[in-house]
Assembly symmetry: C2
Homo-oligomer: 323 residues x 2
Amino acid sequence: MNQMNGYIVSLVPPSNFRHHSLKLIHLFSAGIDSLANHPILTDSAIPITTSSGIHGPPIAEWVILTTLVASKHYATQYEWQKQHRWATDRSELRGTTDWVGKTVGIAGYGSIGRQVARVFSALGANIHAYTASPRPTPSSRADTGYFVPGTGDPSGSIPRAWYSGTSKTSLHTFLASGLDALVIALPLTPATRHLFGEEEFNVLGRRALPAPTSTSTPTASPTSIPKTSFLINIARGPLIDQAALIKALNDGTLSGAALDVADPEPLPADDPLWDAKNVIITPHASSLGLEYVRRSYDLFMTNWERRERGERLFNLVDRKKGY
Amino acid sequence: MNQMNGYIVSLVPPSNFRHHSLKLIHLFSAGIDSLANHPILTDSAIPITTSSGIHGPPIAEWVILTTLVASKHYATQYEWQKQHRWATDRSELRGTTDWVGKTVGIAGYGSIGRQVARVFSALGANIHAYTASPRPTPSSRADTGYFVPGTGDPSGSIPRAWYSGTSKTSLHTFLASGLDALVIALPLTPATRHLFGEEEFNVLGRRALPAPTSTSTPTASPTSIPKTSFLINIARGPLIDQAALIKALNDGTLSGAALDVADPEPLPADDPLWDAKNVIITPHASSLGLEYVRRSYDLFMTNWERRERGERLFNLVDRKKGY
């Protein structure tokens, strides 16, 4: 990889970039926030690529981990272990449930949402996808972005239902589709800020129960389905109206939430979110892992080879659009 | 289901069974321990079926949950949350890793092992299966037992490698195949008691590293692979020499263990297993869930329909073999 160092700018772009003959700048980050107003962005035309697309595996594992911590009441069992207690009365575990035949909604079906779908589907859940733009055809559902090889849903064939549209009605139609869990994997933009608030939590929480299945045929849905939904946010805190979320958790509109992001970050120690009912909070750490840097280099090498072949680069920053 | 009650005996078989015209007795349990020496077993010829095969989904979720608790250092983040601490220094999470390109060995490839394989495979891991009897052909790899519809690995096509044999050499060949995790899903028999002891942990822990992959091609194995293995036991405690396990954990031969079973149960509060390094212990609770009874009835109904059609019953107890 040494021969490539001249072309890689990781955390701090060189101040004297005009004297370099840089052909490509690749960022370790998924966004370009770190370069905001930097002359290399505003005054140069050097191609810049991001590391978007490499986050699927660790973040999907975080989603599955925290969802199972909640649905299998792991915190109770963890505390038992600390007390050296082999509980023979399992009444504290009453209500544990698994994901066979459950429905998981995924808002934002990129590299992260697709890997989440892959794993929940393996657990036996049905997937409902939601994207801003409609995806009516098989080809429109394919993943055209970068993703870690062997992961995700390249063809977009996993979702049993696919919702789209940017109107409130479109979003609510998706949220009312019988979701036992909702995973938020959308980008934060002016249009998505506080996209999920009191109304949306009410739609999620008051959903109608699916029609009962016949008892005479074994199906993949032999579950006593909870009436409320579990919310997972691995995107950005401000996608959610956090005060409304705290209320929805505390009054039982939602059965719980797993949040790797908050508003603001760091979340102050006296924020009421910490003490909301059935909430799991981690400090924006879901994408961490030993694999991160290596995968970012893999993406860079893939782009370098595509550049040599004159092909489209993954994650090429559009300076006019600003991402 | 009411019309079937006359044929279902759940926890307590009737003492006056001779006066019943029972056609089939279905047990909620996977084994027949509860009927040991009971006259309905020893003196009657009434067909008895067990609930073996319905445990895949909840136990596979327990395996994934506890493995991710370990690999993503969840306990640290859980304690942070209790302290209302949004950690900005993540050095305590150093070493977290995901399962893309890792190798998971599954000893015992029945309904549980197959569902574990399905989920680890979705996470990006390669599966190595181990069974007592060889499975050289595709048809020999199919699951001929009962399993929850939509789960598992019905065709047996998920494993990248399949090991078999009952000799120590056969077992060690499997254990030396580069396993980042080993899931024990074998039945406990005189032949499998203490199957996993000091020698086996040494083989697991001292495994050779796989050959490095080229850096110029993105692969599914971009990982810094730990040198030791994580052990998971969801079967029975005495499959493991527990004193040897404690030693292997404390001296770092194994990177950790997740145990839903122990020897003995309940595990006494002063047992040294509780304080072994990197151990996760739960009180034989991995199969619990709201779905259990419903799935057992599903299996019974399936068997009842097969009986009507004159087909082979799932899990029919062989009184001579004793299971």
